[in-house]
Symmetry: C2
Subunit: 284 residues, 2 copies
């Protein structure tokens, strides 16, 4: 059994490096074709690490989309982008955009989203931990059959406001002014969270690096790193690491408590019943 695990482990390592090479070499297929400027430092940091690479990202945006007036599901693909901004916007941008609507226009704020492919499950766990503790409560892992492990960093922060129906404006210009202000506030908060995520990521990665330099893993224990229980079975290996992690967990927990309060009205209330506690519980 041991050999199977070892062979699989090294094959997976190689496959991950190939995936990363292919991914970084290929063209950016997004509409924009480049990484958004507000998250270039995040993407660079991740791609500079051997255990990660990013597969898609958006720094956050305010969009105005014109959907088909007929709201049946079949028709919804016929939508037009009236306005997109990755920065704060002006009420005039929205008013001008909605004046071109001939269907059902909806103004949305879509927060930062990032998909990070991770070499091993424990790398994905670290990424998820950093994301949750930076306020990205809808983050989660995907573990594929072929060994692809991706952490999606997602926020609960949103705004989705219908503005027109069959091309007819449903609200006053004054309301659009107010709405733009709210969207811009969300954009600001979004940037603060990205910054928090970057800071937490830097700390977590340097702690990991330091720990690796100090205590090189014996080959035998590496075989176990692919197991979800690896952190448990390695408990004895480095009490220092455990101590360090615990300290930062407590620090983050305190920060987290603050976020929970601020999220009370504008987070994803339905999942707030137990998700934040579960997440903390899971990671500690």
């Amino acid at each position: 059994m041991n050999s199977v695990v070892t062979v699989t482990g090294s094959v997976m390592e190689k496959t991950f490096r190939q995936w990363k090479k292919q991914s970084l070499n290929k063209l950016d297929h997004s509409k924009k074709g480049t990484v958004d400027e507000d998250i270039q430092h995040v993407v660079s940091l991740l791609n500079s690490r051997e255990e990660y690479f990013t597969t898609s990202s958006c720094s956050g945006r305010i969009v105005l989309i014109d959907g088909a007036a007929d709201r049946s599901d079949v028709q919804k693909q016929d939508c037009v982008w009236l306005f997109v901004s990755h920065h704060k916007c002006q009420p005039e941008d929205v008013i001008s955009g909605v004046s071109r609507s001939d269907g059902d226009a909806v103004l949305k704020f879509e927060p930062f989203v990032l998909h990070v492919q991770c070499r091993r499950l424990e790398d994905a766990q670290l990424m998820h931990f950093v994301a949750i503790n930076s306020g990205f409560r809808n983050s989660g892992l995907t573990v594929g059959k072929t060994g692809k492990i991706i952490t999606a960093v997602r926020s609960t922060h949103g705004l989705e406001v219908p503005l027109s129906h069959e091309g007819k404006l449903l609200v006053e210009h004054e309301y659009i002014h107010f709405l733009t202000q709210i969207a811009n506030q969300k954009m600001e908060e979004n940037l603060r969270r990205i910054d928090r995520f970057y800071q937490n990521l830097q700390s977590a990665l340097s702690a990991e690096k330091l720990q690796k330099l100090q205590i090189p893993d014996p080959p035998a224990s590496q075989e176990l790193q692919d197991s979800p229980h690896s952190l448990e079975t390695e408990k004895g290996e480095s009490e220092e690491k455990e101590k360090k992690k615990k300290t930062s967990v407590y620090k983050r927990r305190r920060k987290r408590e603050q976020h929970r309060q601020t999220d009370c009205c504008h987070g994803d209330g339905s999942s707030s019943v137990s998700e934040p506690d579960q997440s903390l519980d899971l990671f500690t």
Copy 2:
């Protein structure tokens, strides 16, 4: 190393059973205190299976929340629930609710959310697969240090509309009528997705059960099931299982293509750039 994996595996099995027992015995700490009626069948199905139990759930709801007029982060916890409905609602409910606002009222549609604790990583993968293929694109796993594995089933479907500022209504009653209609349509679509999730879950679980009855796992291979690569290393064990899975994957892929079209305007656009493809890619 083998013995470590085996012991850890059986310890984890026992721990999972204990967690499940504790969880099912404890009081429901949600505001409502009971499982929402529209998802009782889903929750019952999951809790009847030895590999799963639910830790929190919400069938979906329309809520009107009054936030503090002062929008600074520190103040946001002072919010009041003006109206909550787990079913379709009437414009009058919203109008009456917003008339009681003395802060910043926001109308939200919050879709179905479910947290399922899973015995093993592969059980979580199956749950995630079913969720993604039923249209719940923001679903993801949490893998904790202590072996807790939770799949969160989450939708991108949302609506978040500011209605008042400092107690002053910002929109016409006619707009609230339109908005209620949109929220109710989202509630209907939400119920269709829950139904799809339930059907897909039933199929996936009976396929798994059948497969387990036909091909009992030899003890040696069970030790590997805790590894993220278990599905890979077990490839040779059951070609029939692989074939079955592939067939259902293709069926689901066809269904999925339809969902992607309908999600074009109202899904989480920011992640739609590559997430659906990634998800499919990951699972096939």
